[in-house]
């Protein structure tokens, strides 16, 4: 019924449907395999950084270790604790895993974006299509929606376990994810402001446009540069916190909470949480690449043209961030919970808020043809205003702190 109403599926209906299904299956298999490799990569890299060998038995360089672990988990006893809310307990892994798969659908994976006619369209079996599973007009909002649903997975897992550590872990986790989601949303809003569209494909197209050039050396029109670096940094920090990866892995701080929200999970249920976690790492890296580093649109350089070159660029950039996340884990000590909340609420959110407004002002000035003087006046005036607000915020923080010290001293007599 829905398909009949849609112009995309009028005409060669079966052909389009088959291409769609093919893309879905390829994305699905790709995700599973990449998770397998990512777990291996993380273990191998972190053991290199810690001066040990890491997995080395299963397959060449231990590359099949994850597969072996996965198969082993199928044969492990699956327990549901007596205190558990059985429905919530069993539902939670689905709510974690399914969004992890779905987010990847909106990430553009390849296509030729360079040159004048580069619009990322590839032809598959005589059908024009994009190298991404779906390009809904709401694009990046879908990513935010899915990461919100993933919070339900964590919350229900902890609450449904009927045990103390999971409950504590999940309450922490949801407060953390919720806090950083605000910063995440604001950083994305800055990109949307630049692109003028929510569709991820349009974002890549916008970034593939030629940026300004310094002589022979062209600076790409990537959002990391165009939006002035701050949204990128905010997104990277907030994204790491959203993933519950080190240094923000308070959710499963082993010393305090055993395993966090999945303490009571065993066997394949645990495996699915684990799978979702690593899949989210890959997807978050892919989203960062799409939003800020031009996705499959690389600098033209001397490389040959073709749809596959976009894919090569995409994976190169993706790899940088995958490496970075592992590097974070090997390098940075874990935050304390109050430091985590302070960073999110008192620094990242006000900063990205101010940055969004300033970018909006510059964009409006651009479209209204403000003179240079007027633009500078706006920027300086706004920065002065931000300084005032920052002073106000600092004063508020100090007031709250001194009130609390006073209350404690009063209590101690």
């Amino acid at each position: 019924m829905i398909l009949g109403l849609d112009p995309l599926y009028v005409g060669d209906f079966m052909g389009d449907l088959l291409v769609t299904l093919l893309k879905v299956v390829v994305a699905f298999v790709f995700l599973l395999i990449s998770v397998m490799l990512m777990v291996w990569f993380e273990r191998k890299l972190i053991s290199d950084m810690q001066n040990r060998i890491g997995p080395s038995i299963a397959g060449p360089w231990g590359i099949l270790q994850t597969l072996a672990d996965g198969i082993k988990l199928f044969f492990k006893e699956d327990l549901v604790p007596d205190n558990a809310d059985r429905f919530a307990f069993k539902l939670a892994p689905y709510l974690s895993l399914v969004p992890a798969f779905l987010v990847f659908a909106v990430v553009p994976l390849g296509g030729d974006f360079n040159g004048d006619d580069g619009d990322g369209v590839v032809t598959m079996f005589g059908h024009d299509t994009f190298l991404q599973v779906a390009d809904p007009p709401m694009g990046i909002l879908f990513f935010l929606a899915m990461s919100s649903i993933a919070i339900y997975g964590v919350m229900l897992a902890g609450w449904g376990s009927g045990s103390k550590y999971p409950l504590l872990g999940s309450v922490r986790a949801s407060a953390q994810m919720v806090s950083y989601e605000a910063a995440l949303g604001l950083a994305i809003a800055a990109v949307v402001l630049q692109t003028g569209s929510l569709s991820t494909h349009d974002m890549v197209l916008d970034q593939a446009a030629p940026g300004f050039s310094l002589g022979a050396f062209g600076i790409p029109n990537w959002n990391i540069i165009v939006t002035g670096f701050v949204p990128f940094v905010v997104f990277l920090i907030a994204g790491t916190a959203e993933l519950n990866r080190p240094p923000f892995d308070l959710v499963e701080a082993e010393q305090e909470l055993v395993g966090g929200f999945h303490t009571e999970y065993s066997s394949i249920r645990f495996a699915l949480f684990f799978l979702a976690e690593f899949m989210n790492t890959i997807t978050m890296s892919a989203v960062i690449v799409t939003l800020f580093l031009g996705g499959p649109a690389g600098p033209a350089l001397f490389l040959p043209e073709g749809w596959w070159i976009g894919t090569v660029w995409f994976f190169l950039k993706l790899f940088i961030f995958l490496f970075m996340f592992v590097w974070f884990r090997a390098t940075l000590p874990r935050f304390r919970y109050d430091q985590l909340m302070d960073l999110g609420w008192k620094l990242l959110i006000p900063l990205s808020l101010a940055w969004f407004i300033m970018l909006a002002g510059l964009r409006v000035g651009d479209s209204e043809n403000w003179s240079t003087t007027k633009t500078y006046a706006f920027v300086l005036g706004f920065m002065a205003f931000c300084g005032l607000m920052a002073t106000l915020l600092t004063a508020a923080i100090n007031t709250a702190r001194s009130e609390r010290i006073k209350a404690m001293e009063d209590a101690n007599g």
Binding site: F75, E77, D78, D82, L97, L102, L272
Partner: protein, 158 residues
């Protein structure tokens, strides 16, 4: 454009089927001999003495409420970010006023200690166990013969 949602639906079904299939496979392959100890809540080997608390610190609730305020603000930002071109300076001023209103109430919340977490700076607390005139001199016992009432060797032995 509704056709772009079909792949999402397909992927959703595939992912759900994958999870369900894993559970079924695990159900067929895994051993099943639960015992009371296995089914009890895990607390590092200690038998749980209390029920799982159903209450948790109200701070988390506050965080959720403040988040809703910001989330609504962000929800208004997205349409603006897409459509700011047609709104011009008028839209810019409006979004600034709106942001200021939200931020100002956020500052008020912080000033009232809504997001005040964690340990304070070490406050000197008078304790009955230690006398206030304790100093480094009185607590460290010296090693050696000085100040112990034992006459020091005057060098004759050498």
């Amino acid at each position: 454009m509704l056709g772009q949602y079909l792949p999402l639906l397909a992927l959703l079904l595939l992912a759900a089927a994958f999870a369900a299939g894993s559970f079924i496979a695990s159900g067929l392959l895994a051993p099943r001999n639960p015992s009371l100890a296995k089914r009890a809540a895990y607390e590092c080997g200690i038998v749980p003495s209390r029920e799982t608390p159903e209450r948790f610190p109200v701070r988390f609730f506050l965080v959720a409420m403040i988040f809703i305020v910001f989330d609504i603000e962000i929800i208004f930002f997205y349409p603006y970010a897409v459509a700011f071109g047609g709104l011009g300076v008028f839209g810019l001023v409006l979004i600034m006023v709106f942001t200021f209103a939200v931020f100002e109430s956020f500052v008020y919340l912080i000033g009232n200690g809504a997001l005040e977490w964690g340990p304070l700076k070490q406050v000197a607390r008078p304790s009955g166990a230690v006398s206030p005139d304790r100093t480094v001199e009185t607590t460290i016992r010296r090693v050696g013969l000085e100040d112990r009432g034992i006459p020091a060797d005057d060098g004759q032995a050498a």
